[in-house]
């Protein structure tokens, strides 16, 4: 190994850094990582990097913003110390999942509301948004732009008398879809921000994202481009990562991105470690992952199944209304209305449900999950790219077992396991969960025990990729054969 190669590791996953360096037969170079007393990150690079090929290995796990800033500052330090090339090796790429607003069949975004039945805002007829218990009613006049005015005044009135905060409810699903949780706690303490599982909201936020405000749709930040630009601004010349959630992500960068695959390792594992694998079925836990799962299935010549979630609204019996999203949980409010509803009477509603908007959205939507494919009497292998809250795979496992699967394996590249995901998996019917070590898995092994967890080692793939990139060789064979 030439002495032109320098490897630095951040402190998010030191074990993986050590393993990668062992693969390459180099020592990780010395860098002091810490924090100043005021919380700012402190980096001191201890070995010379002038004219060297530098690789900075930092996985986007743990406290994401801290590890990301550490990565940026380390790249910047090496670049301004005259390194000839700085490559960022990010096994698990943070901020890569971009929230997507669900769309209706017509293509308009669904902004789902879930109001608990006890919320104050639901008790009044929701002809207009309510503001912290106060009702601002306007009567509809033909052509009036009242939605805007009432919302505007509602917002202003809430500024003067802010709604008291409500205690946080139980966690609302794993979705990164910006839905309004049932209430939340606004953490206004000037100091530390403790991470709260549900986000902060109040009646103001609910009316803020109220689909009645037909003029303005939610604008959701997608941090992907920003993160890519920040890495380039810090000085990264090259990025190596694995199994990016979004296949189009490399396009956000101006520098080359090598997206390595865990698939050969997964195939190898299935081949050697799952008994009777030739009769097994590869299952994708949702429609989005079908392509990934079929690739695995085809490579091993296994059959394939998919779990499909459908959301269909029961209703839509009223006159078609082009401005409203179909099936959304809002009362209909046609823009032209000749007879203003008397104050206090419920506004027109689409279905025969109760007059308050507080009726749970489940009465409007029917959600069915079904398996496409046959799993009865078979070993099922769930394949996904990452496990975060584990709602997806645990629900899938329950469904598969109900449908007669004999064993359920869950294989994912990145095991994020945030919140109480591990406890959920422990209680679930998953027989074995297999993740790679892009993210440290000590806690996983501790909670689930080594008989229920298998860890795939990706250090060899990364080590080989670094060696080949340093020597200027092709890495294509890693995509097919693994290492």
């Amino acid at each position: 190994m030439s002495n032109n190669l320098v490897i630095f590791g951040g402190d998010s996953h030191p074990k993986l850094v050590a393993q990668i360096c062992a693969q390459l037969d180099v020592q990780p170079s010395k860098v002091e990582l810490g924090k100043f007393s005021n919380g700012e990150t402190s980096i001191a690079v201890k070995s010379s990097v002038r004219e060297k090929d530098v690789y900075v290995i930092q996985s986007g796990c743990g406290h994401v913003n801290d590890t990301f800033m550490q990565l940026l500052i380390l790249i910047s330090a090496c670049k301004s110390a005259s390194a000839s090339r700085v490559t960022a090796v990010i096994p698990y790429f943070c901020y890569s999942r971009q929230p997507d607003i669900p769309y209706t069949a017509k293509g308009a975004p669904i902004i789902s509301q879930r109001k608990s039945s006890g919320s104050a805002s639901a008790s009044t007829p929701a002809a207009t948004p309510t503001a912290g218990g106060k009702t601002v009613t306007t009567t509809q006049r033909p052509g009036a732009d009242s939605p805007f005015k009432s919302l505007d005044s509602a917002i202003r009135s809430t500024i003067q008398s802010p709604t008291p905060v409500r205690p946080p409810p139980t966690t609302v699903g794993s979705s990164r879809i910006p839905m309004i949780p049932e209430g939340g706690k606004l953490n206004r303490s000037g100091g530390q921000q403790t991470p709260q599982p549900p986000s902060s909201t109040s009646a103001e936020a609910e009316e803020l994202f109220n689909a009645q405000n037909a003029g303005y749709k939610l604008w959701v930040v997608q941090a992907g481009t920003l993160i890519a630009n920040l890495l380039t601004a810090a000085g990264a010349d090259h990025v190596i990562t694995m199994d990016l959630h979004d296949r189009q992500f490399p396009g956000f960068f101006d520098v080359p991105v090598d997206n390595l695959y865990c698939k050969p390792l997964v195939q190898n594992y299935i081949h050697h470690c799952i008994p009777g694998y030739r009769d097994a079925v590869v299952v994708s836990p949702d429609a989005g992952g079908a392509k990934r799962a079929t690739a695995v299935a085809d490579a091993l010549e296994l059959s394939f199944a998919m779990i499909h979630k459908e959301r269909r609204s029961q209703l839509l019996k009223g006159p078609p209304d082009a401005t409203l999203t179909s099936g959304a949980d809002i009362p209909s409010k046609p823009l032209l209305q000749h007879n203003p509803p008397p104050a206090g009477a419920p506004a027109l509603h689409r279905s025969g449900s109760s007059s308050s908007v507080s009726s749970a959205s489940s009465s409007k939507f029917v959600q069915t999950t079904m398996i496409v494919g046959d799993v009865r009497g078979k070993t099922c292998i769930l394949v996904d790219d990452l496990v975060d809250t584990s709602y997806t795979i645990t629900r899938a496992a329950v469904l598969l077992k109900d449908q007669g699967a004999t064993a359920v394996y869950a294989i994912a590249t990145h095991g994020v396991f945030s919140g109480d995901a591990l406890e959920r998996i422990k209680r679930s019917p998953i027989d074995k969960i297999v993740v790679s070590n892009t993210i440290p898995q000590e806690r996983t092994l501790a909670v689930l025990g080594k008989h229920r967890v298998d860890i795939l080692d990706v250090s060899r793939v990364f080590g080989e990729a670094i060696r080949r990139i340093h020597n200027g060789e092709s890495i294509s064979m890693l995509f097919e054969y693994g290492w």
């Binding site: 005021n38 990150t41 301004s80 943070c94 303490s189 991470p195 630009n229 810090a234």
Partner: protein, 320 residues
Amino acid sequence: MADHSIKMLAPDVNRAVAESVSQRLGIPLTKTHMKRDETGEVLFTIGESVRDQDIYIIVQIGSGEVNDRVLELLIMINAAKTASARRITVVIPSFPYARQDRRDKSRAPITAKLMADMLTTAGCDHVVTMDLHASQIQGFFDVPVDNLYAEPSVVRYIKENCDYKNAIIVSPDAGGAKRAAGLAEDLDLNFALIHKERAKANEVSRMLLVGDVTDKTCIIVDDMADTCGTLVKAASILMGHRARNVIAIVTHGVLSGNAIANINNSQLEKLVCTNTVPFQAKMKLCPKLDVIDISYVLAESIRRLHNGESISYLFKSHVL
């Protein structure tokens, strides 16, 4: 003020200054929604249209989870940018990582430059800050930077709260001499300086007082108070030279680590910080702390920036 074309954003933590600016200007803060998951990733949404608006993002970043606040700020800027804002100004009274502005050791990162690059990459068009640790940091940016001064507010505080006719301005180190001398001139007071003698082998470095403080009220002036080690040493030296009492006025009260204990055990009578860095929670722990509110300076600068007027007035005079 044409308030249909300006919007002000603030994150969900450390909002005190933003709220007071909003009250001062009579413009409510824009509704926003910030969600964090357990790993700390932030999901940020703006609740109103900001298309073609003049956006001001007011953040206070000082101590604690600095990296979280920095990334939240970047995501907020990016949100406004991709939502087609006309101009995005970041009002960040205390600039994070400002002390890492040069490579004083081999291979030290110039993180202040990285911060400047990150802000511009995210989409910021203008920066308003206060009392930058080194005013040359303005040169790290390609966009205009307005470095406001806390000095007029400090002058007013001294005139209103101290027996300043019998006072003397002291700089706790040689680097701050220019700042302290400027303040002394404005108040027409004398000036003193504490100088750290370089340590020889086997000797502890000494701090020497240059100037006479006998029977005077000493006002130590500095830009930042972090662990307060320097301030505490300076106070005991001044009392050792028979000063009457010692108060310290700093712009950025970071107050991390053992700062509160150090101040409580020191000979400082009072430590006054502006509210560029939020430290309200620490005031309960330390009765010697006092605050100078500079939110009105920020509010006035936002008003003038939005209307296209000069802000030079703010450099010399305090705002009523």
